[in-house]
């Protein structure tokens, strides 16, 4: 057996002055830690999930297992949110141009388990519809954004964006 040993000691900066209690390492407020101009018309990324394979079988949803392709992004939530910590910047919008791709998206952590569900899941729309992952109220830290489907063989082009602009009323009248 070949062993490659890598010894990493992570001193997570979670000291609590004046307290006898240790704290968990995910307690501070989170936001999407990406910088630079961004809007729905300038997506964070365009990616075709047909270019990857099925990576994850056991998802955090009670709907169980997935045999579709999985695209996985590492994302850090923390200080430095786009445009400040206001509500519209707290969403990832995942859309597709494929009318047959029924997406499921989740924000996962290693500690997700059957008894400890994924922080956020999105499965609102049928094939062709977009999904929204809201990170509002999530603790700072590293997460994994997974885009997949619960239907085997499904994949397609996806766009991930962080909306700068919230839903806007342009006019309202009663006649």
């Amino acid at each position: 057996m070949k062993n490659i040993l890598a010894f990493v000691i992570a001193m997570a900066g979670c000291g609590i002055a004046g307290s006898a209690f240790a704290q968990t390492c995910t307690a501070s407020a989170g936001a999407i830690a990406l910088s630079g101009p961004n809007s729905l018309t300038t997506p964070i990324t365009n990616f075709d999930t047909c270019g990857v394979t099925n990576q994850l079988n056991f998802m955090c949803s009670s709907s169980g297992t997935s045999a579709a392709t999985d695209a996985i992004w590492s994302v850090t939530l923390g200080p430095g949110a786009i445009g400040g910590a206001t509500a519209p910047e707290q969403d990832f919008v995942i859309s597709t141009t494929s009318g047959t791709y029924d997406m499921y998206a989740a924000l996962m952590q290693g500690s997700c388990a059957d008894s400890s569900p994924c922080p956020v899941e999105a499965d609102s729309n049928p094939a062709g519809g977009s999904e929204t992952i809201s990170v509002q109220g999530r603790a700072a830290g590293q997460y994994f954004l997974v885009v997949t489907s619960f239907t085997a063989g499904q994949c397609g082009p996806v766009t991930i964006a962080v909306p700068r602009l919230p839903v806007a009323l342009q006019n309202f009248s009663v006649e």
């Binding site: 968990t24 990406l34 729905l40 079988n57 056991f58 998802m59 169980g64 952590q109 994924c118």
Partner: protein, 468 residues
Amino acid sequence: MRNINCVLFLASISLASGVYGAESMLRTPPSGTFEFTGVELGQTNPYAKIHADVIGMNRTPDSIQIDRVLAREPEGVTVKFKPGVVVKAGGKFDISVDATLGFQTGRFARYFDVFANGKSEPVDGFVIRGFADWLMLPSVSEIDFGIFEPTSKAVKIIPVETRPGVAIKLVGIDKSSAYIDAQVSEDGRALKLTSRSDAPWSSFNEEILVMTDNQLQPKVAFHVRGQSRGFVVPSSDPLDFGLLREGQSAELTDVLTDVTGKPLKIGEVVAKSRALVVTTVTECAVPSPSCKNLKVSYPPMNLRGVTGGTLEVRLPDYDRTLFIRFGAIGIGKETQIRDLAEDMKAQEAQTKSISSVLQTSVNEPSVGKLPAQMKTPDGKGPLLKWQVANEYDIYGYEIYRSVAEAGPYSRVNEKILERLEGDPEAGSIYQWRDASAESGNTYWYYINIVYNKGRKQQFTSPQKIVAK
């Protein structure tokens, strides 16, 4: 003053050829064998009984004999169809589904698998979707109870939000919590949460169910998370191993401290999880009678996806169990993990490059996308018109009416007006007529947004009209 640091030891990351344990890999079905209709249920309420008449049409050139149709979440679900039915090419078969919804509000999805005779894997599957519209909801979707010590009492009062104009009150507790005592306020409009002195020592993420007096929504769910900290405290909870590649092992150490300063005795440690992890208890780096290291070792990863669970640490001196969540996401040896921040930088660079080319070659404004538009409804009564842009994650709209600006208001559209299909950024133009308005009366109207997850938000200020 004392500082106790969270110390995570990530050690012994090894690539090994060994395979650990065995886990059946369930599979989701390929799509496209059948075309299913009758799967969109529209609007209902949390805890409602739902019924769907689903029709599957065989899109293949071959006949298929149907053996089983199974719900992936079978609890409380009844599926009826004609077992052994042979569906010819282009032919159809009927499936009847009855189920009771849970606490969730907003869009929901229920997955079903269809098996052909003699096949262990499904030949296809369908998803029943709908929208659970609420009458009552906790004022916050997830209640952060914070950290409490079982020896002291922590209290939180959580008010509820109700749909304007609807009579509904909380009346009693249906499902309680081992961590929190719940009590309905006298007016039935709030829930008082009090920490329990006998709460288990662990972090928690609980669902407390409370009964209402309205049969359209008989229960309301309150999601409470927090941490009950006893005399023995782990340095980390949860223990998050992050991603582990196939064949990779890892070890994390949680430092357990008896904060009373007493010598710490650790009894049996039981790991309840999909992955078979190994735990060992050792002395701390700086030896102290009140400190122990709990090492948690993942064997070479052989699972894909979520693998975690809970460690149960027996504490004989306290006759207690300390619960610590842990987990790792198993991925393949070659699985590519993209960095979203890096992808964004690359996308920006590409966008700049394209826009500079466009600036030099094309000097015309781009053509914007047009909003989707609803046609004007026939009939009499006040006509409400509104235009919306950036409709991402919007399910629809509610219309509220009152005879006075200050209210009380109640919803006048029986069902939520669903968002128009179209480009969400370009938005939509909506029209809705209040046919129930009486001629000559003065009314005030406002619009509410309804999001896919069920959250609602007032969208316009009230507008006045005298009905013609």
